[in-house]
Symmetry: C3
Subunit: 363 residues, 3 copies
């Protein structure tokens, strides 16, 4: 991608230490259902893109401006598997090749008339785009686990978070703020236990395991773990942008929240959340519980979104960022280190050796 | 003009290859009727100006800030042929000379107290301003042809186009987009004929002649060319900012659309359109037809303005411009070359040698 | 203060010759009454600050972002004399020291976790903040004179002026514009007398004395100076930001208007006006007159605010400033010189030698 193909996001600068641009990475740009017969305007890391269904209904992703006269291609329409610009009617295929120029007597195809094209894939009900144009991807998009596993149910939700990719990832995987910001809903600030956190840092991931977390009490506890049992809790970041929260309670309860984050701009992130659960309750009870669980989840997300917006406002206003981490910020700094490393090297990660450390935290 | 006298237009930068600043050029700043007894704020190429009628009713044009304390002079009033600032009451003549300072015991006139002044002329019902201040103009404003010719009727219209001077000029003189963007109104995309276009490039102009264009059919054809006849169609750009579209149909029909463009800012252009026609129909029929013709013309302009706005948004968003021209973009690249040449050299054009080329186009 | 602690004010640049940043200076940030049990967000010279009442109710002032994750501290709450961040619950004292980190097993206090702290004082019913953080102030806040003097009455008013500190100070102390902008209310433009103005320039102040100003006529004159008498009129600027207008009429009338200006941003100023008067009329008559005097004062301020807003718009639009002063601009240029000198040297002013000049002005 040349510099002139990248859109500019006002506000970010070299002094924004938590803002990264990740190349050679797959991100979700929309759900399969959102991409119909009309072109769809989307933004990835500040670059305006247009998605459309080309030949055979396969998704295509081009930079959203016609190479002829700069008009957004998303204003046009799809004609016979080609994306047509609304100004002079130039038509492009999924590879960006110009295939028709109305009025031109000679040949339409020419390298200088190509639109910049990004690899695109449809998988798990989402349209994924590779963040480096004009290359053959060396990786595959993330596969959401257990989507079709028996005894598991899945719920999807798309959320818009007003923060940088890093800020939203850290917030999603951060335990200390839950007792405080969401106090009362989760852990309470008063009664605190000390527990151990095992942190494992790999070449493309970092994981925190919370050891000795007490099982939920009361009705919820009896529902999730009727025979009692040990709680296993993992928070994981998987490059480039997956936040994974996993709970196992006893043998029969398994909750897996995968959030695939899409950096729209420097300070705007889309969260494609896929919640997959196995619980020792009949499926009809799960369905009956959803009307109660979803509003609580959205309330919590709303509190986080409000703080993220204020954090972003503050970073924009100062023009710089300030970070003073302690040992209980177990994942945030590691996430940033992984992203920065990829931004610098743009090569495959080294063989996976895992470094394990242990932290005590009051929860 | 010193740099500090130029207003800044946010958005444009050196990477905007189609944005030019033309010095030593006449532009229309308002109609004669708009400039009454009150000062009038206008902007030319990003510079805020104030127009007023000074001694003898002659128009004056000053940079729109008082040299004393930066307050816009357009907030003040005209007193005895002098423009008076609304803060401390300093008064200026059309040449920018300070002629009165209330409260001051000594002499009011001083070089340091002058407002920057631009040459101004009233001609053809418009107030024209020369884009270089403090000099004697070496050229005269454009004269609209045939304004007082017998058998000709004239209609004027002022339009605001949300694009750069170059983008609006090219759009006005561009044939290929008409079949597509205005499809149905003009040429149709289906039935296309190949015709020849002769392009003539001179030192201060470029012209495209469409050879062998078919005569209009049906009622319109019979009205415009009752005895049949050849269609002559010219599109011309005249430096610095005139777009001229000329049709002759047979001996008796002559349509001349002159659009004098004023670059308000880098991406905002005012179009002073003067349409002059001779038609083989009685004048009362022309008048009767106007209520039908004007809405169609404004509808077409609306389609163009919408595309220009999107094009401008896109250029601003990317911070750069992309152009891939083909041989049927017969005028746009030449217009830019002429404007850029004047921007660089700021001297008179070389003697007029005309280069002629020939292009085939499907219309 | 490090550069990263300073908020950015869009619009100002090095080409803005009248914009200054004053260090080591006391400014009013709010009234005592405005600072209750909740933290209060304020801005000083572009830097976002949070004010709160810490231990013993004493005011504290910190940079308004948590050193942990950039969230504005003003979103939090005061708990036991400490300011608590709303994201993770970190708590800070007035000195900026971090005193509690929820969840952390080890020690909370650490230099890297400190919030930047500014000296704060409560005096005369206002909360003052020193514009250099982390130092011991070498001066005291300005003391409003005669606040508790017998026979004097005091009125306070807070006003927001859309101009730079310098522009608002000059406007407040400028005589020539009153006859013009406020014409009719003050001096009239028609009948003008020539009077002498004695200007005294010191190391930290500049004063203009108007000699031979005629006493007010009619009812107002008989009220203010029943036995006749000389008018004494002084306009003073006291570093860093006090505008003082003083009238003595005869022996018995004394009017003192102190305006303590706070530079919120480069082009936004808060005016804390304290009007102290002694008049030869009973106190109940003073109170009865207030409903008539206040609207007139606010009307005059409104005229000034409108001009200041236009002046600021113009400066922003041009990106530069233009000043052409004459001898009757007796204070403005001196005020700028004093502020610039402090900005450059940041040391104590030299011993106070006063230079006196004399100007003739028509009023």
């Amino acid at each position: 991608m040349t510099a002139r193909e990248e859109g500019r996001t006002p506000g970010a600068s070299s002094s924004h230490i938590s803002v990264v641009k990740l190349s050679h990475s797959w991100f979700i740009l929309c759900t399969s259902r959102e991409l119909g017969s009309k072109p769809l305007a989307r933004t990835l890391q500040g670059t305006p893109l247009v998605l459309f269904r080309g030949e055979g209904g396969k998704p295509g992703a081009l930079v959203d401006r016609c190479p002829h006269r700069n008009v957004p291609l998303s204003l046009g329409r799809v004609q016979g598997g080609l994306l047509e610009c609304g100004y002079h009617g130039w038509r492009f295929d999924q590879g960006g090749q110009c295939r028709l120029i109305p009025g031109l007597v000679g040949e339409s195809e020419a390298k200088s008339r190509c639109a910049t094209s990004y690899p695109a894939r449809e998988q798990d009900g989402f349209v994924w785009v590779y963040s480096t144009p004009g290359v053959e991807p060396t990786t595959e998009p993330f596969r959401f686990p257990l989507l079709d596993a028996p005894d598991y149910a899945t719920v999807r939700q798309v959320l818009r978070a007003p923060g940088s990719l890093h800020a939203v990832l850290e917030n999603t995987l951060d335990v200390p703020h839950t007792a405080f910001l969401h106090g009362g809903l989760f852990r309470t600030a008063e009664k605190r236990n000390e527990i151990d956190v095992v942190v494992r840092r790999g070449a493309d991931r970092v994981e925190a395991e919370y050891v000795g977390e007490p099982a939920p009490k009361g009705l919820v506890g009896r529902l999730l773990a009727p025979g009692g049992g040990v709680v296993q809790h993992f928070d994981r970041f998987l490059m480039p942008s997956i936040a994974q929260v996993e709970y196992r309670i006893g043998e029969k309860s398994h909750i897996l929240v995968n959030s695939a984050m899409t950096p729209v701009g420097d300070f705007e992130t889309l969260v494609y959340a896929v919640v997959t659960v196995k619980l020792p309750v009949p499926r009809f009870m799960l369905k009956a519980a959803m009307p109660f669980v979803l509003p609580v989840a959205l309330h919590i997300f709303g509190q986080d979104a409000r703080i993220l917006a204020k954090q972003t406002d503050s970073i924009r206003r100062f023009g710089t960022e300030s970070y003073a981490s302690t040992e209980i910020d177990v994942l945030g700094p590691s996430i940033l280190r992984l992203m920065r490393a990829q931004e610098r090297e743009r090569t495959a990660p080294p063989p996976d050796t895992v470094h394990e450390t242990r932290v005590r935290m009051r929860t």
